[in-house]
Symmetry: C2
Subunit: 327 residues, 2 copies
């Protein structure tokens, strides 16, 4: 074949190919001696609906090529986003990749893995020449899927997919004469609004219990880490901009929410009614969360948690360990 006139950069080619997002699959077959064989591949794609066909490519240099070349059947497993460890295991050579994995009953002899986003059990119909790879085309003789969010591979990294949102209607940015406008694209605005709307949803519970936001943070903190002194409590809650000071703590003690020790430095813990209150608030938060996740969709909720963690790492001012972004 003609070579491109311009010098060709293989690593640049790989990077450019990485811009095409894919799912992650594990393709399995069984060797003549009955040994299970499998490897991670993202070169999968659909081909035909009638008859149902899919394809994937395998390097001619792959140690498992003879097995797949001889196999009449192979199974493609589209991995769920919790299965990136499995993807790594089947991407490495050597070791017994199937150790400890429960196989499920299959239509043919190819191993069938569990816990995937979707599975296609296939019978080889074509093997095509593809440069340094062989293209395997199979007829799908059976398939199933779950509701799991699929694992993605983009630009050499595992990723999560979340559907595109329509814009949030606002005429913000219309004015503020020329300066960088205030727009809904400001993360600070979106974070604040999302956070306040979440709080709004269970503010009623706080009101019923007569618990302020500051008291709420103290209850949540002491429910996790008991016996802190006033300085430690202030340090853990300072990032909220709400002062959890001796006066606030004294008020909570007076209302029986906190118990205080007689140490040289007073240490605070939840009283029984404080624990009950913290559980009540937490239960309300979980209820709000469940309702939101229901509306948002499990994939989007998983994606949002994932990104908020990225942001928290990126913006962590160096908080005490409980709230620290850690490493």
């Amino acid at each position: 074949m003609d070579k491109p006139t311009s010098p060709f950069d293989p690593s640049g080619f790989r990077r450019a190919l990485g811009m095409f997002a894919t799912g992650v699959t594990i393709v399995t077959a069984r060797a003549g001696d009955g040994a299970p064989v499998g490897m991670t591949a993202n070169s999968f794609n659909s081909v035909s609906l009638d008859p149902p066909m899919v394809l994937w490519s395998l390097a001619k240099s792959a140690r498992s090529l003879p097995v797949f070349h001889a196999a009449e059947h192979w199974n493609v497993h589209i991995l769920a986003n919790e299965q990136n460890d499995l993807a790594n295991r089947f991407a490495r050579a050597g070791e017994d990749k199937f150790a400890g994995l429960a196989l499920e009953p299959a239509l043919a002899d190819a191993p069938l893995l569990a816990g995937c986003a979707a599975r296609f059990q296939c019978r080889t119909v074509f093997r095509y020449e593809g440069g340094d790879h062989i293209i395997f085309v199979g007829e799908v003789i059976g398939f199933d899927q779950s509701e799991a969010a699929p694992l993605l591979y983009v630009s050499g990294e595992y990723a999560l997919a979340t559907r595109l949102s329509r814009p949030v209607a606002t005429d913000a940015g219309a004015t503020n004469g020329g300066a960088a406008p205030f727009t809904e694209e400001l993360l600070g605005y979106l974070l604040g609004r999302a956070h306040y709307q979440f709080m709004w949803s269970f503010q009623r519970t706080l009101d019923e219990l007569g618990i302020s936001h500051g008291e709420f943070f103290v209850l949540s903190l002491l429910a996790v880490r008991s016996g802190l002194d006033v300085a430690e409590i202030a340090a853990h809650t300072a990032y909220t901009g709400i002062a959890a000071d001796a006066e606030l703590l004294a008020g909570m003690c007076a209302r029986g929410l906190l118990a205080v020790s007689n140490d040289a430095v007073a240490r605070y813990a939840l009283s029984d009614s404080g624990l009950a209150a913290s559980r009540q608030v937490l239960a309300a938060a979980h209820a709000v969360e469940a309702a939101l996740v229901e509306q948002l969709g499990r994939r989007e909720a998983a994606g949002l948690r994932n990104l908020l963690k990225h942001l928290i790492r990126a913006s962590d001012p160096g908080l005490p360990v409980l709230w620290g972004a850690g490493l």
Copy 2:
């Protein structure tokens, strides 16, 4: 070929295939009469690194099949996440898909579109039988890429990809005896912490200007929508849980941040110094944002904005229009 023994459900098969995430491409070629032809396809994938080869599949029923069958060259455009309109345009039959599109100089005759995440200019090397589709394998004679986040297609919807995060270290959830634990997976916690850490980052600016959070919200609101009365201002800021009341407004007037009208019902607007202050705060917010996006990565920032909008829609308590999630 043998038919599967179990009855085969085409729509179920489509749904299962949808669990394999893909990028979105537009493949173009030129007809014998010079007319540009193109269509949206997600059946693209890489095949070979040496020689560099990619493949995609086209339905035998496609009106453009004769053109692609006769074409020696075709270009694959991996779309960026801003190009979903372009994807829709090239997915529809009829109309002049290339109307108004600026084409860029290509190595061969196939049309080359602009603004994509990556592009591969190819020369046909194989056409393979694939059921109701033809599999086109091309040698890549030229390619390029941008830093744009690629558009995804998952489960029949356009999507964004964001890389998986490592967990945020916390021993929260260790205690709180048996009740649903307080964990970093709680959206309320993640939202609050991300929001507070963002605020923390430009709190200094607020302090320098001696502007409280309540005053900050009033400045931001009036910068966008001027001439509101106290009730309207309170309604727009109520969701923050911070009371923007007559007393707060009076204080801002006294400090020359606001101008008040002599209408029967007093209406408030930013004074010149109030506008200057709002711009100063906004500039600080933009600076914090820019630094965060730098650390977070543009794709992750785009994904986070996208998901926060989903959440804001899902949790909107019915706020006035400026802040309303709208439709």
